[in-house]
Symmetry: C2
Subunit: 146 residues, 2 copies
């Protein structure tokens, strides 16, 4: 088993949910990058407009300089976008793993009830999400047993 | 009831989970904005360095021009950060609302079993998340009834 699939094996425990969250966050990031892109564009359009209003000829060094800047900034923005995407995806997977843990355990619990007829209380960890759900489920199962 | 609390009433159905998701995404956004800020800084440091290497005096128009640009870009980046944050929070709340719907229904279902002893199959909508969980729970409950 490669290192990558081991990682996937450990952190992708509920693919449907986790990949959806990754998709949502990538979409948000896409919008954010677009907003930043538009604002940077507006910024340079303004600086460019200063040169136009000063009646500088189109081949003036002012515009050449702005072009160098724009190119340099675009390279750095592309790097920033890439770093942001990688961070967002990895962090979302890591955190969603914690988030869906209780759901996966809940599912395993009911699968056990179905397969072996063993009804035990669900143990969520104190730091888990959805602990109130565990309590409600345990109370209901307790009542059904009677 | 004000419009704001109506909105909250409708879209915040599982505060613990939804606010956690908002916090996670705001953290991701914070990192993304920092990465963009650093890259923009690097870009302008490079442009500034060109002037320094050309031995321009510190009060040269070149540096004044870069300062105007930096200020203008910072204003636009602040606006971009604000728009991004608002979008990220609203979209996360809207989407997490869809995500936790099945969990909220699952909880209500077991609360009903506990309170009234009525065991009915859980109906998730086809577009819901966690539909596999509903199936597993229904199978288990069906078996327990026998």
């Amino acid at each position: 088993m490669s290192g990558e699939s081991k990682w996937r094996f450990k952190y992708i425990i509920y693919p449907q949910f986790q990949y959806t969250l990754v998709a949502i966050n990538s979409f948000i990031l896409f919008v954010v990058i677009t907003v930043f892109g538009v604002q940077i564009y507006r910024s340079f359009a303004y600086i460019n407009g200063l040169g136009v209003r000063a009646n500088l000829p189109p081949d003036h060094n002012y515009f050449k300089f702005i072009n160098i800047q724009t190119h340099n900034l675009m390279v750095n923005m592309t790097i920033a976008s890439f770093i942001s995407l990688v961070f967002s995806v990895l962090f979302t997977i890591y955190f969603s793993h914690r988030l869906v843990g209780p759901i996966v355990r809940l599912k395993a619990h009911f699968l056990e009830i179905f397969n072996n007829g063993i009804i035990r209380p669900i143990n969520f960890r104190k730091t888990d999400y959805f602990t109130d759900l565990a309590e409600v489920v345990n109370n209901a199962l307790e009542k059904m047993k009677k």
